[in-house]
């Protein structure tokens, strides 16, 4: 008799997920699905609101990557009012750099949260450790000095966000065509030099290297397990600049294959011409894919692993991150890296890259200049805009249309977690195969639950973002037989 295994809820991720594993009569895994059972809402909710409210309201989808949503929306509004990139009018230097600074501060803060709070406990205590220990609270008890450094690092990131956006969460900085304030010299000096309770930028750079060291130590001791864990194929996508290197704020989309051949390159304004979205009745989260390649071959991976796979190098002024990136590239001899747990290596590299970019920006006097907004020309209003940024979890797209009166009539958000939907499902399938395939008793063990969670967590998915949910959601794992009968289920 075939069986189905269900994990619900999946813990230490944002939102409510459920995993169902289908077994056949020969005890082989025939299917594994990550169900996302939250409901959508924000795209509808925003309709009828004035266009300028969109970046302010839609950032409230998320308490972690709100800056990305805010900036993505702001870029869409730049388009809508007829300024900036879509009109080939360069954004003024100060607002662009202010936006980038806020973006890097958020990336630092978000990656530090996901990596040190949720992922490092898995590495330090092992996947088989009890969930009660394999948690940040276990980390607090085991290594308070590390936690102090992490707290200091995240706090610095939040202060960086607050300095740019006015508040540490859901602040407002960007307006159509620019920003509403520059960075004062005093705020800049505080971020660089620190003060009582705030570490200095040099300490940020020092602490930002902890993550790579922790991953490398863990990898050194567990190389075979780490490398074999859910090695799943996918194309890799991110925004790149004209040199073909990742640009977190603006660029064109590049998609590369395993050999890093460019499969597709596109202006993100043409996204709908190249991508389609499949739906399934078992998940509210869609499955985007490249139309030209179809759903199976055309699904992409986004986020830290995809970005380090796509980019050849970082900016010349990031020597530490460039050295780390080179080591990462050397590990797979120049091929794209499909090892799911190496996403955490990539994330640690990006923490360092963010810190170095922040240092560059904070030493740029443009941040204190007064030209903040690019005024649109008469009749420049287009009524439609698309913005794309590289959010911490990957490529994020906002697309709005507004009426002549300026009220939103259409909104479409394609978030990183949605882009990663297929590759996350492949990861769950791979883990289920490893733990259950060929075993007579397909019971849900702690080891299986932990492994599935670790696999999903590598993507740092935000299911609330992905479904634009408006409610509070809590993972569930279930095993069903060939007839759909539930034979095991566990909830965390």
């Amino acid at each position: 008799m075939s069986r189905k295994l269900i994990i619900d809820p999946v813990s230490k991720i944002e939102g409510h997920g459920k995993v169902v594993v289908q077994m056949d009569d020969n005890n082989q895994v025939t299917d594994a699905k990550l169900h996302v059972v939250e409901f959508r809402g924000f795209e509808k909710f925003i309709q009828g609101h004035p266009y300028w409210e969109a970046p302010m309201l839609l950032q409230r989808i998320c308490g972690i990557c709100f800056v990305s949503h805010h900036l993505c929306g702001a870029k869409a509004l730049d388009d809508m009012v007829g300024v900036g990139y879509s009109t080939n009018t360069p954004m003024l230097p100060t607002p662009e750099k202010i936006r980038r600074l806020g973006h890097y501060a958020q990336q630092l803060q978000s990656h530090v949260t996901a990596y040190f709070y949720c992922i490092v406990p898995d590495m330090l205590f092992g996947m088989d450790a009890a969930p009660q220990q394999r948690n940040v609270v276990g980390l607090v008890e085991a290594d308070p000095e590390l936690v102090k450094r992490v707290v200091a690092l995240r706090k610095w990131g939040q202060e960086g966000i607050k300095s740019v956006l006015g508040k540490r969460m859901h602040g407002i900085s960007s307006v159509p065509g620019g920003v509403n304030q520059n960075l004062s010299q005093a705020a800049r000096d505080r971020l660089v030099n620190g003060d009582d309770g705030l570490i200095s930028l040099d300490q940020v750079l020092e602490y930002a290297q902890d993550g790579i060291k922790i991953f490398k130590d863990f990898h050194e001791k567990n190389r075979a397990e780490v490398d074999a864990f859910a090695e799943v194929p996918a194309l890799n996508m991110c925004l790149v600049n004209n040199k073909g290197n990742v640009d977190y704020y603006h660029g064109h989309m590049r998609i590369v294959d395993k050999d890093k051949n460019i499969v597709q390159e596109l202006d993100y304004h043409d996204y709908l011409d190249y991508f389609s979205e499949a739906t399934e009745d078992w998940s509210y989260m869609k499955f985007p894919f490249l139309k030209a390649l179809g759903r199976e071959s055309g699904s992409v991976r986004v986020g830290p692993l995809a970005r380090v796979n796509v980019t050849k190098a970082y900016e010349d002024n990031c020597p530490l991150a460039n050295a780390a990136l080179e080591e990462f590239h050397d590990y797979t001899k120049g091929k794209a890296n499909d090892m799911t747990l190496h996403t955490n290596w990539a994330r640690a590299i990006e923490i360092l890259h963010s810190a170095e970019q922040i240092k560059v920006l904070l030493n740029d006097p443009d941040l204190q200049k007064q030209q903040l907004v690019l005024t649109p020309a008469d009749n420049a209003w287009t009524g439609e805009g698309i913005g794309v940024v590289e959010a911490p979890r990957g490529t994020l797209l906002h697309h709005y249309r507004a009426s002549k009166e300026g009220n939103i009539t259409f909104a479409n958000l394609v978030v990183a977690t949605t882009q990663n939907n297929t590759v996350m499902n492949r990861t769950v399938r791979s883990v289920a195969d490893s733990y259950l395939g060929g075993k007579a008793q397909a019971e849900i063990t702690e080891g299986l639950m932990n492994a599935i969670e670790v696999g999903i967590r590598a993507y740092d998915p935000c299911l609330s973002c992905a479904t634009h949910a408006m409610g509070q959601m809590p993972l569930i794992i279930t095993v069903l037989d060939a007839n759909g009968k539930k034979i095991d289920e566990k909830i965390r």
Partner: protein
């Protein structure tokens, strides 16, 4: 007896937790609004945030006493409740939120100290994406603030209360 006047020091923190964009989740901030409107505890640090984060362990490590104010759905709370909190690691952590006892335990573990912490919870009913308290939540806020009015001498000894 503890008085709100005890919080009128620079070593005190009064911290409203909530989200005014989600109906009664705004109760914590509404209480902070009331404190500010009444000019109560002007010397204390006043904060409003959506939820707690681990770095709040660092924040409270600089304080001698902390009053957290939050909305609650707890069935055993009719209107409001005040309780003294104890440091304890629990497993409530996600990257979006962490409990007050865990924050206190983290503070003690990392910084070798922990302030006196109290939690004021006020009963709420609706958490939908909408601004404004429900009328019942507003009543509970009024009951809480009125309780403090009756048990206090403003501008002298502050507001006195006992455990509800």
């Amino acid at each position: 007896m503890i008085t709100l006047a005890d919080y009128n020091t620079e070593s005190s923190l009064i911290y409203g937790i909530g989200n005014v964009g989600r109906q009664d989740d705004g109760l914590g901030w509404a209480f902070i609004d009331w404190l500010e409107e009444q000019s109560i505890c002007p010397k204390a640090d006043i904060m409003r945030h959506y939820q707690l984060h681990l770095e709040d362990a660092d924040l409270i490590s600089y304080k001698k006493q902390v009053l957290f104010v939050d909305a609650t759905k707890a069935p055993d709370v009719e209107t409001f409740q005040l309780e003294k909190m104890k440091a304890k690691m629990d497993f409530s952590f996600s990257s979006h939120a962490i409990s007050i006892p865990s924050i206190m335990a983290t503070c003690r573990q990392c910084f070798d100290k922990v302030p006196n912490v109290q939690l004021l919870t006020i009963k709420g009913y609706e958490w939908e994406l909408q601004e404004g308290l429900t009328s019942m939540a507003k009543q509970n806020l009024d009951i809480a603030t009125e309780f403090f009015r009756q048990h206090s001498i403003f501008n002298k000894s502050g507001i006195t209360y006992e455990k509800a």
